[in-house]
Symmetry: C2
Subunit: 223 residues, 2 copies
DNA sequence: CTACAACCTTGTAGTCCCTGAATTTATTCT
DNA sequence: AGAATAAATTCAGGGACTACAAGGTTGTAG
């Protein structure tokens, strides 16, 4: 937490759900360091661009050594757009908590919308900064290196568990998850670009379209 | 083309369509260099793993300087899994050539299946090697840096042109393309893992499922 | 509260990726 | 052939990232 306004608004971190407060000092410090590094990375890169900021500077802003940075994130990119293992856990749990007879796509849709709801009011600024960075550096969009990949895998497993399919044998869960995440990815960036409609509405429409088999939308030319 | 068997099988390159033969010497040499670099990269990394091969070695194997490597590929990863601008052109043209009254998703599906057909018989080995590399280094899956991103954008524009939608305003083309490419990506890797069914069949089923709105498949548990 | 083990952080040294600029070599045009 | 153009090479350098070997902090058990 470098030279920032409110030192007590420690909850202004890209993560969404509540964390268990019962952690030892060591664990709490690790979470703080991780947050500080992530915030410093996002803030500095938002100001100066990806190539205008070195890992050394990010580490210095978070008041740890450069070497320590790489103990927390395998890559500079991951500090910016990587997915927290914590978030993955929350999402898969939310998915498992949906009613068992719910359609798989509907369940994934509900979880994603719920998270978009939670994000919108509180930490919109931080997410907008993040998305603006992604927009300016397209390789961050799909990438974020290994983390997005493990995200997909974890979600696919959760979906597979829901509907009794082995994701390693049946491609259905992986395809569903990939399509859903593509929607989140694309509409998030769009939402950042034009502050008009709420993100939840954009996602909702896109998921509707997906559930109907992506028919040509009303505005499309028929012939 | 280092110490390889047949120097005359120069057509064994990951690209698929036919190239116009009317090119100057300079252009032909550039294509050859690009191919040599790509092949050397895939071959060496398939043998020794991603971290066991340096750009210097790839360049040496292709008999150009290290600096020249970066004149052809912005990144080491791109030499392995990047998409050729040439391929993008071919695909968008194929998309434009589909009947105008065809459903957008059906058109994209047709183009992807057609390309899968062309790949299968001839260059299966090279593609298998490529896919095996991707499987061993998950960050290459989604990534390949900027090239997938521009691939998505180009395709989205082509789809938008087909159905009279501006991809910058309406998210439909981008979502459709992302879902389609996710299918290609996932099923390709799956096809590499288990050499059973032909790639075209796998893709065909997945596109069917997508067009029906991703309903839970037969094997799924209902309650 | 002290000893001890486990873990985290740090510094060092080095490899490799990637880039800009200047120079040299190869193709194309006239 | 000679001029114009484009590509390949050399050189110098910054920055990402890693293995290794200390040194500090935290948890734990007597």
């Amino acid at each position: 937490m470098t030279t920032q306004a409110g030192p007590d608004r420690a909850t202004m971190e890209p993560s969404v759900g509540a964390r268990p407060a019962e952690l030892g000092l060591r664990e709490r410090k690790k979470l703080r360091t991780r947050r500080a590094l992530r915030m410093a990375a996002i803030r500095l890169v938002a100001e100066r661009g990806l190539d205008g900021v070195s890992v050394d500077e990010i580490a210095a802003a978070a008041e740890v050594s450069t070497r320590t940075f790489f103990n927390y994130f395998p890559t500079k990119d991951d500090a910016l757009v990587g997915i927290d293992p914590e978030d993955i856990r929350e999402i898969t749990e939310a998915l498992a908590a949906r009613p068992a007879d719910e359609d798989p796509l509907a369940a994934v849709r509900a979880v994603m919308l719920q998270r978009a709801e939670l994000i919108a009011p509180e930490q919109a600024d931080l997410w907008r900064a993040r998305l603006a960075i992604i927009r300016r550096h397209p390789h961050l969009m799909t990438a974020s290196a290994a983390s997005w990949s493990s995200y997909e895998n974890a979600l696919a497993e959760a979906v597979g568990r829901r509907c009794g399919l082995d994701p390693a044998r049946d491609p259905y869960p992986a395809v569903l998850v990939a399509a859903a995440l593509a929607i989140v990815r694309i509409l998030s960036v769009r939402w950042q670009e034009s502050p008009g409609a709420p993100l939840v509405d954009l996602l909702s429409q896109a998921f509707d379209s997906l559930a109907r088999g992506l028919p040509p939308p009303p505005g499309a030319s028929p012939a």
